[in-house]
Subunit: 434 residues, 2 copies
């Protein structure tokens, strides 16, 4: 006789909703670092974020029921930072520093809630926009992406039997563990989880983080996911994102202001942060243009995060630039985080080993690689290239160019204007998979 | 807050014993078919079974604590056939036949319990003997093997963390599923689970059976495990084993009687069973000798189960023999069950396809293939060649020769005598892995 726990059984069968996001800390650490800066310097700016599905062939609105998406977004809006979470943010050490977050900022966070959203459907896609103060809309990026991605995963496995799901996850676990065993062969590897936004699901990301912790030991330095960092006693990892230069360029308005925006961001940033947080993300308007026009003090920053050039090419370009400015790259740091997987991590590691310090942010291919795992035919578990970008700032269009024009976002005429301002040096179209 | 079910938690932490064998039906079906014959024809015979570890390098008594082994054996002795089990044996159809088991036999089974055992240790091995009436000791074979094998598995994973075990089983599941997907490519495959005795554990065997059911559909015809057949509504599969000719030869005493024993068994058998149960196991004293001396009516039986020659060689030998006797092999059945795995199943299937009906009994490499699965170093999960053989019958030694002299068992002088009686034609030493 199997004795069933009636309370558990009844509870499980009466869920109104299985929330994708259960905590406002279930976001990337850099969002909080950026938010503190936004809250301090740009509290009045209005910034609209918008979901952009670069994998157009996947007709998301035909896969995920709109009612489910609304229910999850609505649920996320009910969340507050809990006392425990705020105490942890106040008391924890981040990047070796205590009190990374100011008490006034944390007091403000205590009242934070995610603002409203606008949701409609068009041509098989969701039109999902988050208008409002930048101080609020910025925190929608990660939960919005995590929600849409996880609802898509759930749709792909809906109606599959218990056994098929068992095989699916067994294979995914086995697959990830093979990767871990390969990475273990790189003695000086420094790697962190960057997979929150594109994850298959929250519980799966937790498993992946656990696998890296168990398998890589000290080579696994932490996770971008603040909630997982707190729960698993890991370092929270992250610096800054494209939204900062994008918003500042849009705010600038005139051509000189737009051209100065990428460096203006760094000036704002270094007033708040130091050390390993002084990482340049150079590709918002093209890495070549950024390096060409950069003031010399940028070369004193700790490192760069090349994000849209192939890793070897982007890294070499930055190494040459440091050397031309008389800096020794061996004291510098490169963070690689653009669609990395074991092959490219191994190749990049071997290529730069001994020449520069390296760190890898492993995202989609860590937390959402189910290729070949399903024992049933589906392409609904293949990761897609979904982003949530700032598109409008105080009524003006926001633009990103990137080194890969396929990752450019923004109003086409404004994109042309930015291209005129920054030039297209070094830009080359490459497929965007994740 | 995680709410724990206190009753479940307390229960799990207070297990005195996690039984390996929880039912007397957790045995191979052929043991029950043979037992019915033994009970009818040989109720007075005393037969001692004995554990034989052919993988001498594995010092079992240094791996498995004797107290644990005793606790499991003692627990098995507390088991009785339950009402539900006896009703199922009475009411179920086996091999297309109702009432396979006589009511008087089932009434006798209701009082059955496993007899005592003798356990000691010698040179790092267990000396485990089951003396008593053949009608009772015969049912020790499978639970004894299952218990020792599972206790060895448990020892190998003892003290490993939750996560390492998760990876272990994920990989084992992924590995088995790759095999299932390969086997799925063989359209006329007929396969059953023969993996009870050497299984990694009962729950793992259940998973394997479920995997075959889900993955192979109608190509998976059933399991030798009676309990799993009942619980999963599968066919119970199996015919007869070496113990029958071994006991009858030992009973015969004189040379003529020994030589006649393999055919005497078949005469006893066909008085009870018919159809697909008329399967000859020809290798007890060498397949060549068996075929050479066989009466013509043996060629009218449904098929053969070659068990110690390489499958192609053994199968061809039997095909030639059928043809020499004017029987068309296309109406006959060969059952391959000796250490099969996907490679040999595929090769054998392709070799004989269209020339003879085939069925595969997949044992150790189905239910105990953990090679390459552990994320920690261990050889404790590699299957070993453990058997439980009848060694003594009414005070006389019992002997098996086999086509592979490494699988021979029995008193060395008596083995020499049998070799003189049957000849060594066709015998060749081959490594015994499982």
């Amino acid at each position: 006789m199997i004795l069933t726990d009636l309370a558990t059984r009844a509870y499980n069968h009466n869920w109104r909703l299985d929330p994708v996001v259960r905590s406002l800390l279930d976001t990337d650490f850099y969002k909080l670092l950026m938010l503190q800066m936004i809250w301090l310097r740009y509290p009045k700016v209005q910034a609209t974020f918008e979901l952009i599905n670069r994998s157009r062939q996947v007709r998301l609105a035909e896969v995920v029921p709109e009612s489910e998406l609304r229910a999850q977004l609505d649920h996320a809006r009910t969340l507050r930072f809990t006392k425990k979470e705020l105490i942890w943010l106040a008391g924890n050490t981040f990047y070796g520093r205590t009190q990374m977050f100011r008490p006034e900022f944390l007091a403000w966070l205590a009242d934070f809630r995610l603002p409203g959203y606008e949701l409609s459907r068009e041509d098989g896609q969701f039109v999902l926009r988050f208008p409002g103060p930048w101080t609020h809309t910025t925190l929608w990026e990660i939960p919005a992406l995590a929600i849409v991605n996880e609802l898509r995963s759930r749709a792909a496995i809906k109606d599959r039997g218990r056994f098929a799901l068992d095989v699916l996850y067994a294979r995914a676990k086995a697959k990830l563990w093979e990767k871990v065993e390969r990475l273990r062969a790189l003695p000086d590897l420094v790697l962190s989880d960057f997979g929150t936004r594109r994850r298959h699901g929250f519980l799966w990301q937790s498993w992946c983080v656990q696998a890296l912790k168990e398998g890589l030991g000290g080579r696994f330095i932490g996770t971008s996911n603040v909630l997982l960092a707190m729960e698993a006693d890991l370092e929270a990892i992250g610096t800054n994102a494209h939204e900062l230069p994008m918003v500042l360029a849009a705010l600038a308005g005139d051509d000189a202001g737009v051209r100065a925006a990428p460096y203006r961001v760094l000036e704002d940033w270094r007033e708040l942060y130091a050390g390993n947080l002084l990482i340049v993300l150079p590709d918002t308007y093209g890495t070549a243009a950024f390096l060409r026009d950069a003031p010399d003090w940028v070369a004193d920053w700790t490192g760069f995060r090349p994000d849209s050039l192939p890793p070897m090419e982007g890294g070499e370009q930055i190494l040459r630039w440091w050397q031309a400015r008389g800096r020794d790259p061996r004291g510098k740091l490169l963070i690689f985080s653009d669609g990395m997987d074991v092959d490219s991590i191994e190749a990049t590691y071997r290529h730069f080993h001994g020449r520069v310090r390296m760190s890898f942010g492993w995202g989609t291919n860590l937390t959402n690689d189910f290729r070949g795992c399903a024992p049933f035919p589906t392409d609904g578990l293949d990761a897609i290239s979904l982003v949530c970008k700032v598109t409008e700032v105080d009524g003006r269009p926001a633009v990103k160019l990137s080194d890969n024009p396929r990752k450019a976002t923004g109003d086409p005429r404004e994109v042309q204007r930015y291209l005129r301002l920054f030039g297209a040096e070094g830009m080359a179209e490459k497929p965007v998979r994740v």
